[in-house]
């Protein structure tokens, strides 16, 4: 038995607009803030590891000429833990609409990080080690995440903090520290050399800021161009689709009139029409009906793609009511083919577009009826699984070949077995189901075995699955 799954949990359905990515919209800022918090936990782990090493392996460190970091890593990790908890709590209260709040969160994180880095640089050795270059990570990140002005502010704040530390050390207000045990290094370094070293470091940071921010700006400009081109393409595609839809609609009208004329003919002259003519007229009517149905499906699919939410908008709908209304529409076909439809659906209110859900379940239940063998059984049931609601539509019909299963949602795809069984199939029904499920962020799972039958499973996630009134 083959299984096909669409829109599973792993698949991220949230699509960020390109323009939002270019201009660092709230969604991207939120993502960045979340990333900073995650990285900070890793830094906490590194500090803890440093503290543990400093305490447990102090003898070894002294032997190799390193001053064991005994207290400061614990102190800094405690500061980072507390501030990170605060940032996490603050972050969880924010949403995509509170851009100002997100920015404040990020800037507080940056200031905290720079302060912690400055203390660490002081403890490791501000001018007699290369640790001061650790500021460059923050400067480079700021150049990527912010506009040039924002990243310059970060660079200047970092420079200010570092130079202040060095000046405090030179003036003796703060005793100079170093992780290097050999105090000769500190002794050899005059205050002037220390200042030159510090200024050189800041100079390098400013160059790094200038280069990275310019590169970043160039990349963003390119992104913007791509985004604009993409928007134009999307617009052109939409206009083209609209044109196709209008033309398709123009095609539908004559078929509607042909059908109406046949209805008029049947209404007025049917009794006096010879049987042979009736047969021809019925064929014309059936063919015209099939063509109109096909055009209707093309229009429906185009409409759902152009206007995903639909005219009916999203509201709370009882899934049992939807299925009941669908069953009324399909009962004639079920009776004609002597198919028994067993339904076991509880009252459950879900979030969705009523018209679209009607179409989705109509297509699936009608397919189950149409592709069942005569006198077959179709089961329609629902089962809550955790916080999700799973709906099952299963038949014991012709089934789908394993190699065809991955393509069943493709537009105009029809299996040979399917065409032989149902010549009127348009190959669009399941594409419509897929689009509606995608728009609703519902999952789809299909299990099928050739000549055994098919089960379609629609997975309505928790957020779309409102409080249900059980039977």
């Amino acid at each position: 038995m083959a299984v096909l799954e669409l829109f599973s949990k792993a698949e991220e359905l949230k699509e960020k607009s390109v323009s939002e990515q270019v201009y660092l919209g709230s969604t991207v800022l939120l993502h960045n803030a979340r990333w900073f918090i995650r990285v900070r936990w890793m830094v906490v782990a590194i500090f803890v590891l440093t503290g543990v090493t400093g305490n447990l392996a102090s003898g070894i460190l002294i032997n190799i000429g390193v001053v064991p970091p005994v207290k400061w890593p614990w102190f800094l990790s405690a500061v980072l833990i507390l501030t990170n908890i605060f940032f996490s709590i603050h972050f969880h209260r924010l949403n995509e609409d509170s851009r100002r709040g997100v920015e404040v969160n990020i800037w507080l994180q940056i200031i905290t990080d720079l302060t912690v880095i400055t203390v660490m640089v002081h403890m490791i050795g501000s001018t007699n080690t290369f640790i001061a270059f650790i500021y460059i990570f923050h400067i480079a990140l700021a150049c990527i995440f912010f506009r040039p002005f924002g990243s310059l502010v970060v660079t200047l704040v970092a420079s200010g903090m570092y130079i202040t530390d060095v000046i405090l050390e030179i003036t003796g207000i703060l005793p100079p520290r170093s992780i290097i045990a050999n105090n000769l290094i500190i002794g050899r370094e005059t205050p002037f050399i220390a200042l030159i070293n510090a200024v050189t470091a800041v100079f390098i940071w400013l160059i790094a800021w200038y280069l990275v921010s310019n590169l970043s700006r160039a990349v963003r400009k390119q992104d913007k161009k791509l985004s604009d081109a993409n928007k134009k393409l999307l617009k052109a595609n939409r206009e083209k689709t609209m044109q196709v839809l209008v033309t398709t609609h123009e095609l539908k009208s004559p078929f509607s009139v042909i059908e109406t004329l046949i209805k008029v003919l049947k209404f007025k002259y049917w009794d006096e029409t010879p049987e042979s003519v009736r047969e021809i007229i019925s064929k014309i009517e059936a063919r015209s009906h099939t063509l109109r149905e096909r055009i209707s499906k093309i229009l429906l699919l185009g409409n759902i793609k152009i206007k995903p939410v639909g005219n009916g908008e999203v509201s709370s709908v009882d899934i049992k009511d939807i299925i009941s209304s669908v069953l009324k529409n399909v009962e004639e076909e079920a009776e004609r083919r002597k198919i028994t439809v067993n339904v076991n659906i509880p009252h459950k209110v879900v979030c969705g577009n009523k018209e679209h859900l009607n179409i989705l379940f109509s297509n699936l239940i009608m397919n189950a009826i149409v592709y069942s063998h005569e006198k077959g059984v179709v089961n329609v049931s629902a089962k809550p699984q955790g916080k999700e609601l799973h709906l099952y539509i299963s038949d014991h019909g012709i089934g789908i070949r394993d190699d065809a299963l991955p393509h069943i949602f493709d537009e105009y795809f029809r299996t040979n077995e399917g065409v032989r069984f149902n010549k009127r199939s348009t190959g669009l029904g399941l594409s419509i189901v897929k689009e509606i499920a995608k728009n609703h962020k519902y999952g789809i799972r299909v299990k099928s075995e050739l000549n055994r039958g098919t089960t379609f499973e629609i997975i309505i996630p928790e957020s779309k699955n409102l409080i249900g009134k059980e039977d």
Binding site: S256, V257, E259, F267, R292, L300, N311
Partner: protein
């Protein structure tokens, strides 16, 4: 004999529907454009109007005519049935639930292809109550 006016650019359709309605003893007239249709309605005073939505000269000709009729005192009470091949599948979608005094000032809505029994039922209902 009650008078019905069919306004539809598809003459084949109007003639076919007209022949059925005549058989049901209605006095039926047809016109295939919306230009000067208000004048025609004032002059002929039909009891009911069957109106198509889209016209070659104006894609929303049916809407415009219905709105004009509702703004013309002597004919504003005439019941109107909208007749169209547009339905929920089309981006310009509307249906009976969208009937609104301002936007779509009609009494009822029938989708093409027309179900003869359904339209007769609607016509009888509207002519009885009007």
């Amino acid at each position: 004999m009650q008078k019905i006016l069919i306004v539809d650019d598809d003459v084949d359709f109007s003639d076919a529907l007209s022949s059925i309605l005549k058989e049901k003893s209605f006095n039926v007239n047809t016109i295939d454009h919306t230009e000067d249709a208000v004048g025609y309605v004032i002059e002929n005073r039909p009891d009911l109007l069957i109106l198509d939505v889209m016209f070659p000269e104006n894609p929303s000709g049916g809407f415009d005519l219905a709105r004009k009729i509702r703004k013309t005192d002597e004919i504003k009470e005439i019941p109107i049935i909208f007749l169209t091949a547009i339905n929920k599948e089309f981006p310009m979608d509307f249906s009976a639930k969208d009937i609104d005094k301002e936007w779509m000032p009609v009494q009822d809505f029938v989708e093409k292809p027309v179900d003869i029994d359904l339209i007769l039922q609607k016509i009888y209902k509207l002519l009885e109550v009007s």
